[in-house]
């Protein structure tokens, strides 16, 4: 769907209103949704989709998805959380996601950043170096 410039600007404005101390506030998001419900703008679907994308991107920055092939202990997840929180200077929570395609190793995704040490990534590096 083609989103107009005005709709994108409006969605960005709503997104900024949803932040409290640089973090997404559930309370503010709720208020924004109520406001949109009471005062439907032009292109409501486009605005809501763009708003959703911005909020999801922001939330992804505080969330680490830890993909693993074998079992992973809670203590490892906590260690990862601590390390990432320290690195990014913001609270980061980690959740485990089993991914047998990795064979061995981990892939951690925090927002746009991907940290990977797994068999497929090493094989890919080897393939590109040959």
């Amino acid at each position: 769907m083609q989103v107009s410039k005005q709709s994108r600007q409006f969605a960005r404005q709503l997104f900024r209103l949803s932040l409290a101390d640089g973090q997404i506030s559930a309370e503010r998001v709720n208020s924004v949704l109520i406001y949109l419900n009471q005062h439907p703008p032009r292109q409501p679907l486009a605005i809501l989709k763009h708003y959703h994308r911005l909020v999801a991107t922001q939330l992804a920055k505080n969330h680490a998805s830890v993909e693993h092939a074998g079992p992973i202990a809670d203590s490892i997840l906590q260690t990862i959380e601590r390390a990432l929180t320290q690195k990014y200077q913001r609270p980061v929570t980690a959740t485990a996601q089993p991914n047998p395609d990795l064979i061995a190793g981990l892939r951690i995704t925090v927002g746009d950043d991907v940290y990977e040490s797994s068999i497929p990534s090493h094989l890919a590096a080897l393939a590109s170096s040959v």
């Binding site: 991107t57 190793g105 927002g111 746009d112 950043d113 940290y115 990977e116 590096a125």
Partner: protein
């Protein structure tokens, strides 16, 4: 045996289990060679990004919530949702002498089927031009082998000389002649083992040309044994606009390597009109604001930053640029032609009317100019061609009166005769550059009235006969001319003697 173990250990060390960090994004849309990408929060302006299937992109639009990338290579495999990752590297291309004799694409990858290129060095495609302090004025010539250009519109090493004209007026032929002539000079110079000889390597950048034309050009260069001193960067009409946009910068980077390493290079951009059109297409798809003729606001900077990279550096080498511009209906006042005319150090204007009259190369002497090249012209050429431009200008002025009948005084008639002979003398077939010493001898003969008794229609034949005579029977004189590069009293006497001898052999 221990070295084998060490090699394996090194390989293991390279594959250490250390985690690799990537900054990624996902494709939101792909259209006409441009991908809009979500994410890529760490991407730099002009950074190379890696698309799936080995396609490379360049981040050109960094917006608040998306990145606009032009994709180099095949875009047909890309789809919405594909992962894109940053590389941390600005767009760079392989450089060095191993590229000579090869045909590469805009990223420096071989497309000639002659195997991979083992490049040791890479240069960024986009680079800030050398500053004022490191530059040196132009003082060494680039010899095109075209008599009309070398004598009246001389080009120097480090100069930017525009070649402008309508379609099919011989623009590409001029640059191919120049490349062939340089190859001949290189062969001669390198064979002489003269320590002071500086070869000039050529880079021919094809932008938006037909592939059949490129194949023909390559064949011409191969036939003249000039490909070994030439790199061809091909972004043809079949390639996407991003390749066409990048190709001249890649060519400039390859030329800069020669310049930075104390060598001389010549880079030809064929042509910048199509480059501007490719950039306009990219800009419109990236939704950048458009201006005159729908070109984006930075279309002047697009060409100025490219052509400013041509320079002659103190204690290093030089990079000469020959950009080509194709005009529509001879309109030199259009947007892109005026831009490039104002950037370059002169232009060679080719006229369709002259071309149709059979005057080839169809150089319009009145509209062509070289702003810095005269200081690079050889003394012997200055001696024989100093007055030519004026004489031709007078001829053009008087030619209009000649139509009114025979009431012309003897002096005017002589000027007209001289002008007509000069015009004939400058006719030259394609891919047949003339060595500078032969040019000087032929022009000396013209200045000393040796062509006056010959009928105007027979001048071309007489000039060819004279060239053949000099090449076959007066080699020593030509060698002396080339080495001295000036016509002194001794050489004048020898030239006189040789031409008297030629007069005896020429039967018309």
């Amino acid at each position: 045996m221990s070295t084998v173990i060490e090699q394996i250990e090194q390989q293991i060390a390279q594959l250490s289990s250390k985690a690799v960090k990537k900054n990624t994004g996902t494709i939101r849309s792909v259209a006409d060679g441009v991908a809009k990408v979500d994410g890529l929060s760490d991407v730099m302006y002009n950074e190379m990004v890696q698309f799936p299937g080995n396609a490379i992109g360049i981040a050109l639009n960094l917006e608040e919530d998306e990145v606009g990338c032009v994709v180099l290579g095949d875009v047909s495999q890309l789809k919405e949702g594909d992962e894109v990752q940053t590389t941390g590297r600005l767009l760079s291309v392989p450089v060095g002498k191993m590229l000579l004799g090869r045909v590469v694409d805009a990223l420096g990858r071989p497309v000639d089927g002659k195997g991979p290129i083992d490049a040791k060095e890479f240069y960024p495609a986009e680079k800030i031009a050398p500053g004022i302090i490191v530059r040196k004025s132009v003082s060494q010539p680039v010899l095109t082998g075209i008599m009309a250009i070398d004598s009246m519109i001389p080009i120097g090493r480090g100069q930017r000389e525009l070649i402008i004209g309508d379609r099919s007026t011989g623009k590409t032929t001029i640059v191919i002649d120049t490349i062939i002539n340089q190859a001949r000079i290189n062969r001669q110079g390198l064979a002489s083992k003269d320590p002071g000889f500086r070869p000039l390597y050529s880079i021919y950048v094809v932008i938006g040309q037909k592939q059949s034309n490129v194949a023909r050009t390559i064949a011409s260069l191969e036939a003249a044994d000039a490909l070994q001193y030439t790199i061809i960067v091909a972004a043809t009409a079949a390639d996407n606009p991003a390749d066409q946009y990048i190709a001249p910068y890649a060519g400039a980077a390859m030329g800069e390597w020669f310049m930075e390493n104390g060598m001389d290079a010549l880079v030809v951009y064929d042509d910048l009109s199509k480059h501007a059109v490719a950039y306009r297409q990219i800009s419109l798809i990236l939704k950048r604001p458009s201006g005159r003729e729908a070109y984006p606001g930075d279309v002047f900077y697009l060409h100025s930053r490219l052509l400013e990279r041509a320079a002659r550096l103190a204690d290093k080498g030089s990079l000469t640029a020959l950009p080509i511009i194709e005009t529509l209906a001879s309109d030199v006042s259009a947007y892109i032609p005026t831009n490039v005319i104002s950037i370059t150090d002169g232009q060679i204007y080719l006229e369709i009317d002259l071309f149709n009259q059979g005057i080839r190369p169809a150089v319009s002497v009145g509209l062509s100019v070289s702003r810095v090249g005269s200081s690079a012209q050889l003394k012997m050429t200055k001696q024989v061609a100093g007055k030519l431009k004026g004489e031709l200008a007078q001829f053009r002025e008087l030619a209009a009166f000649a139509q009114f009948g025979s009431d012309l005084d003897a002096r005017t008639r002589a000027q007209l005769d001289r002008g007509a002979r000069i015009v004939e003398l400058f006719k030259q077939p394609a891919f047949n550059p003339i060595p500078i010493e032969v040019q000087a001898a032929v022009l000396w003969a013209m200045q000393n009235n040796y062509f006056d008794p010959i009928d105007v229609k027979k001048i071309v034949g007489a000039a060819n006969h004279l060239q053949e005579f000099l090449n076959t029977r007066k080699r020593a004189l030509l060698d002396a001319l080339r080495q001295k590069a000036a016509i002194d009293d001794t050489l004048t006497a020898e030239l006189k003697k040789a031409l008297e001898e030629w007069k005896g052999t020429y039967t018309g």
